[in-house]
Assembly symmetry: C2
Homo-oligomer: 117 residues x 2
């Protein structure tokens, strides 16, 4: 059997951990609408290029970024869907935050069979 020393966290852990750093949130802000190369991302920090590359790695491993290679450059952009664990967490622990809205919607549209079986 393979000895797994310490494989990276998965699921909600990875996403939440990745988001718990201000530098990384700033990176997400940069790429949430535009697709940017690593270099341009790094240029907007006072950190070294390598440090930013590591942050990008964390975000990528958490599934928060998509990578597209173009020549020597790597272009990154936010994968919104990967925030699903955050949404789930919110709806679990603060149902009002989403639920009140949902309820209002369902009240307004009295046929809500919009749920998967």
């Amino acid at each position: 059997m393979a000895e797994r020393k310490q494989l990276p966290p998965e699921g909600p852990d990875a996403v939440l951990r990745a988001l718990a750093d201000p530098h990384r949130r700033q990176i997400l802000r940069l790429v949430q609408h535009a697709e940017l190369p690593a270099g341009r991302i790094a240029a907007s920090f006072t950190l070294t290029q390598q440090a930013v590359s590591q942050h990008i790695g964390v975000l990528r491993q958490a599934g928060l970024l998509t990578e597209r290679r173009e020549g020597t450059r790597r272009l990154y952009t936010l994968r919104h869907e990967s925030l699903q664990p955050v949404r789930d967490l919110l709806s679990e622990f603060w149902p009002d935050a989403l639920g009140r809205l949902r309820q209002a919607v369902e009240t307004a549209h009295p046929r809500p069979p919009e749920r998967k079986p």
Copy 2:
């Protein structure tokens, strides 16, 4: 001047970091509806009482728990509002997750002045 060596993280960082641990999320599940004493929380883990106490400390410092003392016991419960940073983050990076619902609501109720000034 006071020397601040490394004061604990504040705002979104503290909340997200606190939530990024499965043990702590489990604690929140336990106290999200019921107010429980530290001992009963600790009893549902295989960790030591002290370890759980430390997790509670992290959650408390992040503002996620309220503490009420009753005799020698300390009763904890979830402070839902403290999840606001998570909600903010979600609405910043995944506006659809909340916004689509909001939009539907506003379409259905064409005058929604339900916002604080």
